[in-house]
Symmetry: C2
């Protein structure tokens, strides 16, 4: 038996309680989301099979799963390719995400507790500190955790899973670095509005603030990618 430290070695001999294909889904997903498999690149079944020490069967099952999740694209007789998101698709996803996140805000507002409120304000003060001292690299993961916490606390597992799926999918966008940016202090001002709305217990107000938060992120992305018709060179 391998002494399995949880270092991510390409070895999944440990798992026997879960199907090999399921484990492969997670592993390949990780390869994609970490960028090891770049968007647009082709996935070679044999290479992956050798890498993970299995045959092609489970690999194929895993890729079909990832296809349904929208992370890869399967072309007959050509192979499977890591999905590459166009700007249009990224914008579409933002619109789906804002709808889901808004709904999460609405649901959460309707059954807030003091503990949840405390956690939320905790996130915000943390982010305020990091924003002031300009520690961008530290700000981003807290920001992510803040959003995740809201969605997870909303009490709708289906909604949470879908939201997470779309956030993951956005990693396939070519300029995903732009997604992360967008004004720390500005962003945190919106966070305060969101938490205030949640604390008030007003579902409608919570929806609006949460929806708008994501919608503004979409607009920032659009502005930075598709600069408003201004004479560029020429």
């Amino acid at each position: 038996m391998s002494s399995t430290t949880s270092r991510h070695v390409d070895d999944l001999s440990v798992v026997k309680s879960v199907s090999l294909a399921s484990a492969l889904v997670r592993e390949i997903e990780r390869l994609i989301l970490t960028g090891e498999l770049e968007p647009g690149s082709r996935i070679n079944e044999i290479h992956l099979a050798n890498r993970f020490g299995t045959s092609r069967g489970p690999i194929r099952e895993a890729t079909r799963s990832l296809e349904a999740k929208g992370l890869v694209e399967v072309v007959r007789n050509r192979g499977v390719f890591v999905r590459r998101l166009s700007t249009e698709e990224a914008v579409e996803i933002y619109d789906v995400r804002s709808a889901l996140f808004g709904q999460a805000g609405r649901l959460l507002a309707e059954h807030m507790t003091d503990e949840i409120l405390a956690r939320l304000t905790g996130f915000i003060t943390d982010m305020d500190k990091l924003a002031e001292s300009g520690e961008f690299d530290a700000y981003y993961p807290v920001n992510l955790a803040f959003h995740s916490f809201i969605v997870d606390s909303a009490g709708n597992k289906t909604l949470a899973a879908e939201y997470r799926r779309f956030v993951d999918k956005l990693h396939l966008f070519r300029a995903r670095s732009l997604v992360q940016g967008g004004g720390l202090a500005v962003s945190n001002r919106e966070h305060r509005e969101m938490v205030d709305a949640l604390a008030s217990g007003d579902g409608e107000r919570a929806f609006i603030t949460h929806w708008r938060h994501v919608d503004r992120a979409k607009k920032r992305l659009l502005a930075s990618i598709d600069p408003p018709p201004r004479r560029l060179s020429s």
Copy 2:
């Protein structure tokens, strides 16, 4: 214009342009959604393979796809089971659906055309007639088409695909007959409100009406399934 009068015989020898597994996904999906494979029942790989004249490989790929879509559940060494939706899950899906449908309304309101408006009012007058004459069986498909048309016209393919997926998933709910019901005339009054909002071009107003339409359907479902604590028998 679908001139494809595809009689559904269990034969997919025609298809060669698309992978066998993809075709199987559609076929099995159909079996599930038509109820031929009942929620909770187990899917036997060999039986399906014989039925479609293939080996188990493609069947397995297809079921993994369906698992990611949420239509079936795979238990290791036990087999795949058609998902059975609990009341809680059905409610969760309604909340996701209302969020997506509301967003579709918002998006559609922001780029309405006369043609779209004409189509929408057409649906409504059709449904009015059917509701008056009490032709329930004919009302339901038109109602479905009306909702699909809105979502498809919103101009967000991702949103449309997701919405459709959740509507399909609701078919796995044990009492899906209840989902369809819920007052014809009442429903159509809400439809009018929706179309009025769309015609006004007010995205916010369109969102509210569309969201509320689904949310009310959820409430009707809850009311009919979880009857207010009243002494039942005993």
